[in-house]
């Protein structure tokens, strides 16, 4: 089995190839300037050529079994990995107003893939899919539902791939306690935009992300939760327009704003730089609060699992959380770290979807 994974980013299109269940990618690379509708085909062509040249037998067929595209947003219609079909494309097109930056790019990539490799299935992996199962009390905001006219206003999480895999891993560790459907798990995803979810069995109960990834914990450059009146104050006091406010909140806030310089999550936790102290304290404090809220939502706690590209920071966070989360649990809390690359997890999800499709075709 060989899968090509495409991750459309804001500046470049990341690609990687995974074979069978190897942890490491066979190939990895980036294509720049891929976002215009015309450049989709050129980008895919470039990727396929690169892969062809770097393969041991440049003349042989690439033999891709599938292409998976990871998308940050899939709204309510997409509740899991989805194999592209004409009806899926229609559904995706309807989502354009909700994710105007992401969906058109994905559509252009899909079109190019279908033109260049008609026979290879394309699978869509959505970061929001896991969170389509949140309950209303968690996903609703206390505003008039008609306030935002053109879409359903609700909360999602934006690291669904990590959270889902992390919880599978946590349940595996809890298997001896026969906790499967009722395991109470805090999933702490340590990415540049960290996100915490409380999960009961396989079902998300709370998540720190919001209607957009801006809400919740501060990120490396995004502000996280604010008093909503601060947005209004920025408009009123500084006369800023929405674009300008958006730029500051999404690129000049978070750890960067707190430290006064660009700094990564791991630098903040691992360096003793006094300039990073406030950023570290704010981050730790917000993580503690979010964990407390999650435990209250779950009504208990069995496991805490760290994932994300900074998953290993969990070893630094653990003593601090153990000291502050003063919980009376029946069993000691199980601590788990899922230190696997995101694209590896995407490849896993794509394979499951592919196998399901094959068995359905065999039956049909």
């Amino acid at each position: 089995m060989k899968i090509l994974i495409l991750t459309p980013g804001s500046r470049s299109l990341h690609f990687s190839v995974y074979t069978n269940d190897y942890e490491q990618a066979d190939h990895e690379g980036r294509v720049k300037d891929y976002r215009s509708p015309e450049s989709g085909k050129a980008s895919i062509h470039h990727i396929l050529t690169t892969l062809q040249y770097s393969s041991p037998e440049p003349d042989a067929d690439l033999a891709l079994d599938a292409v998976a595209i990871r998308l940050p947003f899939g709204g309510e219609p997409f509740q899991g990995p989805t194999v592209v079909s004409p009806s899926v494309l229609q559904e995706l097109a309807r989502l354009i107003p909700h994710a105007p930056l992401h969906i058109p790019v994905a559509l252009s990539l899909i079109k190019a893939l279908q033109e260049l490799m008609e026979e290879v299935p394309v699978i869509l992996i959505f970061e929001t899919a896991f969170f389509t199962q949140l309950s209303e009390r968690e996903y609703l905001y206390a505003v008039d539902p008609d306030l935002i006219s053109d879409q359903k206003l609700r909360r999602y999480g934006y690291h669904g791939v990590f959270h889902e895999a992390a919880c599978v891993e946590a349940r595996r560790h809890l298997a001896s306690r026969r906790l499967k459907f009722a395991a109470k798990i805090l999933s702490i995803c340590l990415e540049p935009r960290p996100e915490i979810a409380a999960v009961m069995g396989a079902r998300p109960v709370t998540v720190s992300g919001g209607a957009t990834p801006l809400e919740g914990l501060p990120g490396q450059i995004s502000c996280g939760e604010l008093d909503p009146s601060i947005v209004i104050t920025l408009a009123q006091k500084l006369g800023w327009g929405t674009e300008q406010i958006n730029t500051v909140l999404t690129t000049a806030g978070g750890l960067r704003g707190l430290a006064g310089e660009a700094v990564s999550l791991s630098e903040v936790f691992l360096s003793n730089n006094p300039r990073h102290q406030l950023a570290r304290e704010v981050m730790q404090y917000r993580i503690l609060q979010t964990c407390g809220a999650g435990v209250a939502a779950l009504g208990g706690l069995d496991a805490i699992v760290f994932s994300g590209r900074y998953a290993r920071l969990g070893t630094n966070l653990r003593p601090w959380l153990e000291q502050h989360l003063n919980l009376q649990t029946e069993h000691p809390i199980t601590w788990v770290t899922l230190d696997r690359a995101q694209n590896r997890l995407v490849a896993d999800q794509a394979w499951v979807a592919l196998r399901q499709r094959e068995s359905m075709m065999a039956c049909g």
């Binding site: 008039d144 009146s229 500084l238 407390g292 003063n326």
Partner: protein
């Protein structure tokens, strides 16, 4: 000593004349519908010795209401105030305790007005009228934000660029401080602990505003309200927590009309906006009680309201670490057992265990509704902001006289 306490709403003025330090009420009441004439006339419900009388009087602003209240009090020679205590919502970063009102203080408050454009102006009008009409009557301003001045930097800092937070004074202030501090003192007394040793989560659940406060060693270390009273819990007409990107989207949709967005989030959201039925959560809860299953907006509203409290309760129990008690106060906190039950049940992991029967049968306050084997007490305490303000006023006056005497001697 008789202390006259004023508590301003946007169109109302509550007052109580208390004999201190006993805290006995001599008179009290409320001026209602202050402002330009409406279909119903403005009036004062005036109460002396427990007898109420309604006086229909034109009152176009809070200064006029103040003058009328003073007139009513002057009809009885026993009701002469020796000092006035003013509730002021926002003290900014400068006022961290009760403050004797002087011209300098008024000046500083006028500068602050910019920070709290919705909340402070009526109280400012009142204080100005008071200084003009009774220049020799000592007046003390008691701030809702003062108790929260001990919130540590990591909890009051928003993750925004420093030049912005400095320029605009953006930080968490926290509100309802007078009430949180008062019920914490009551709880410390009930638990027979010195206030400096009390660890608690205080839930001030009003029929209008609501906030939770994390208290460590008697001091506020966090509050769910933020830079303004808009952040945090779902309130009667305020949205509470909201993705900042949604606020931005609303601003975009309103073509930059920030006043409109401000009004929508402060006056048309929360329980009212979500339910489409009522701004009073009690109406929503009684609807749900009469039809327990359902998937309509009203059921959703009850769920969202309770869920938000529960999550913050968990967050603050974690922050406090080893809480002695959870405190419930104000209209909803004191009188709606279903709310206490819904947010406390299933929190054994925090050492919290509610006794459902005790909780359902609260008939006098204060009252402990925790099960006997609960590590954390659950106390239902009546708040008394006017009494708290009178106490602070008295303390501020004593302090001022003491320091004055020290200077003189």
């Amino acid at each position: 000593m008789n202390i006259l306490v004023f508590n301003c709403g946007s169109s109302s003025l509550k007052y109580r004349l208390l004999s201190m330090p006993e805290g006995v009420e001599l008179a009290g009441g409320e001026a209602q519908r202050i402002g330009p004439p409406t279909a119903q006339p403005s009036q004062i419900i005036h109460r002396v010795d427990g007898h109420e009388k309604i006086h229909i009087l034109p009152m176009t602003d809070h200064a006029a209401a103040f003058a009328e209240v003073m007139k009513l009090l002057s009809q009885d020679p026993r009701l002469v105030p020796d000092a006035v205590g003013h509730r002021v919502v926002h003290g900014g970063s400068r006022f961290t305790g009760p403050t004797l009102v002087t011209e300098d203080v008024m000046k500083a408050l006028r500068e602050l007005k910019d920070l709290a454009p919705i909340h402070n102006p009526p109280a400012m009008k009142l204080m100005e009228a008071c200084r003009q009409l009774y220049p020799r009557l000592p007046a003390v301003a008691v701030f809702d934000t003062a108790y929260h001045s001990t919130i540590p930097e990591y909890a009051h800092t928003y993750a925004l660029p420093r030049y912005l937070t400095m320029e605009l004074g953006l930080r968490k202030f926290g509100f309802h401080g007078t009430s949180h501090e008062y019920v914490a003192e009551e709880a410390a007394r009930l638990l027979d602990k010195p206030m400096e040793k009390l660890n608690a989560v205080s839930c001030h659940l009003g029929s209008g505003g609501a906030s939770l406060c994390a208290i460590v060693q008697g001091k506020s270390v966090d509050n769910t309200m933020g830079f303004s009273p808009l952040q945090g819990l779902v309130m009667s007409t305020r949205c509470g927590d909201l993705d900042p990107a949604v606020a931005l989207q609303l601003l975009h949709q309103a073509h930059g009309d920030s006043k409109r967005v401000e009004k929508a989030l402060n006056q048309k959201s929360g329980v009212l906006g979500l339910s489409g039925l009522s701004a009073d959560i009690r109406d929503v809860l009684s609807h749900v009680a009469s039809a327990p299953t359902g998937d309509d907006r009203i059921h959703q509203t009850a769920q969202v309201y309770l869920w938000r409290i529960r999550k913050y309760l968990g967050a603050y129990l974690a922050v406090v670490g080893k809480p002695d008690a959870i405190l419930f106060t104000d209209t909803i906190g004191e009188t709606v057992p279903a709310v206490r039950w819904a947010v406390c049940t299933g929190l054994e992991v925090f050492g919290v265990k509610l006794d459902p029967q005790l909780n359902a049968s609260v008939s006098s306050w204060p009252c402990d509704v925790a099960a006997a084997d609960s590590a954390v007490r659950i106390l239902v305490v009546q708040t008394n902001e006017e009494l708290a303000i009178a106490r602070r006023t008295l303390a501020a006056l004593h302090q001022t006289t003491t320091s004055y005497q020290e200077v003189v001697s």
